[in-house]
Amino acid sequence: MYTAVCVRSFRRYATYRAATGARVITNTVFGFIISYTYLALWQVRPHLGGYDLSSALTYVWIGQGLLSVAALNDLGALTDLQTRISNGDVAVDLYRPVDQQAWWLACDLGRAGYQLVANAAIPMLVGALAFHLRVPQGSGWAVAACWSASALALVLALVVGYAIRYLVALTAFWLLDVRGVQLVYFLACSFFGGFFLPVTLFPPVLEAIARALPFVAVFQVPADVFLQRYDAAGTLAALGLQLVWAVVLLGIGRLVQGRAVLKVVVQGG
């Protein structure tokens, strides 16, 4: 059943072509702006934060590609949940014999799948044509391992991101208007997730804070896996970290959901 939900969510997002187009263009344009900023920065300080120029530019375009996929600056499919909570429609959802958290995860993965195809591919391709980007290197085996690890890291990043956004959306049960929380989430995710700048560029204290937060698991970690910044053991540890965050955050989501459901009545008698 959740597969069916996932497929329909994919199609639901596919109905808005114009929105997709606008996003692709925006992401591509921003990709160029940030790329030139990075170019300037890396010319002054080569190997800043341990990235060579090519890696740094790749980092930028991965960011533009994943911005929509990992929903770093919106709530993804959970925008719908948040709306349904605010207007009370969520009550109807609860009448169905489904697990809410799994239901919305399926919706969000469907959305991410669509955006991976529609939103991520084009900016990354344009970036690859305009700049010299880094692809996984080494023996055939190493390349294959890197691609599979990256795919896994991406899936885990999506789940962690979803778990955080689920909590953000659930705050609607108490706050009704979650725009404030959303804004905090966007900033936290972009800043501590390493989207604006890799966290390795941060002052040590700030980096330590960022590393202790789950946001790195949404962006920095999968990007670094793809850029082969970890050795084999490091990659496993990175994936493990993502997995731990996914489990912990989904668990918290479940607890909060239990409490939230008790609040359902408030909206729209």
Partner: protein
């Protein structure tokens, strides 16, 4: 009772409401949305559940469907505790809210039904049969491939009702299913509900503000006000309980001073026409005879009380009583 499907005994539900009282202080007030509710609905019954806004109708439905836990009292649906067995009971019930939708906004109606098939694990044969029936009776044929966001309210409502019935629920909760619909759509929805109830024996609990729904569908009506059932019985009984009145409309040959007739009350007097109210339970015959003896009459008719007036009076009294 063996065939009782819904059993509600002394159920209360109170909410804590915090109100602003001064700059930082908040006062806590406990509000009883439902206060000592008692009723039983038998299998296959179609019951109208009415009451003014805020009377506790939706709260009752939320408790029956298991998304709200009663503060006290006992509540059973098909012998199960709705809160504890929410997911299992969800398989056996259908819910339609006039003002909410379960359909997927951006996708064709058909997709929402396909999804319902998976959610409720409806066997293929059952699904095909039920969908075909709903499509036929609710005239959905041309709408199946239309995205839900393009449907009119009436069409969407029919779509929602079909979605709630595909898994053949034993009990159907309808919260204002005809709200905002035009006359034709209302009739179509009512006819469909009547058939579902008659043919499948689906138990229906219907809340509405449209009393025509009740008159045409329900043999039994429960009136709730301030969280209590203030009336439970047939529609006819409502008239007695509501102390409703019938009206004699008297057309006189020529203008007369207001008529004074024992057992009646003059309501209106306009030219040669006068309106006299008398208790609905009293016979009109002696009054007519007395009038005919005293006045030269051109015409005379008896008007039955409007159900709406009866209910309005009942709501009004309950408010005064509290």
């Amino acid at each position: 009772m063996d065939d009782a499907l819904i059993e509600v005994e002394g159920v209360t539900k109170s909410f804590v409401v915090r109100r602003r009282a001064g700059r930082f202080r908040r006062t806590r007030t406990v509000v009883d949305a439902v206060a000592g509710l008692d009723f039983t609905v038998r299998r296959g019954e179609m019951v109208g559940y009415i009451g003014p806004n805020g009377a506790g109708k939706s709260t009752t439905i939320k408790m029956l469907t298991g998304i709200l836990l009663p503060s006290s009292g006992r509540l059973r649906v098909a012998g199960a505790d709705p809160v504890r067995d929410r997911v299992r009971l969800a398989q056996r019930m259908g819910v339609v809210f006039g003002q909410r939708t379960t359909l997927w906004w951006d996708l064709p109606l058909r997709d929402s039904y396909e999804l319902a098939r998976r959610i409720y694990r409806i066997p293929d044969a059952t699904y095909t049969r039920n969908l075909a029936r709903c499509v036929e009776l609710l005239e959905l044929e041309d709408l199946l491939d239309v995205p839900v966001r393009q449907l009119s309210l009436g069409q969407r409502m029919r779509g929602d009702i079909a979605a709630a019935l595909l898994h053949e629920p034993e009990v159907l909760y309808l919260d204002e299913p005809t709200i905002g619909l035009d006359v034709v759509s209302k009739r179509r929805v009512r006819e469909f509900l009547a058939r579902v109830n008659a043919e499948r024996g689906t138990t229906v609990l219907l809340t509405t503000h449209d009393l025509t729904d009740i008159e045409q569908l329900c043999s039994r009506v429960m009136v709730i006000d301030h969280g209590r059932v203030v009336y439970d019985g047939g529609l006819d009984g409502l008239h007695e309980q509501g102390r409703s009145e019938r009206t004699l409309v008297v057309d006189l040959e020529r203008e007369q001073p207001p008529i004074e007739l024992p057992g009646t009350r003059l309501v209106r007097c306009e030219g040669t026409r006068q309106w006299l109210a008398f208790p609905a339970s009293a016979s009109a015959a002696p009054l007519v005879a007395a009038l005919a003896g005293r006045y030269a009459l051109r015409d005379l008719s008896v008007r039955e009380p409007e159900i709406e007036d009866v209910i309005a009076r009942m709501y009004g009294e309950a408010v005064v009583a509290v």
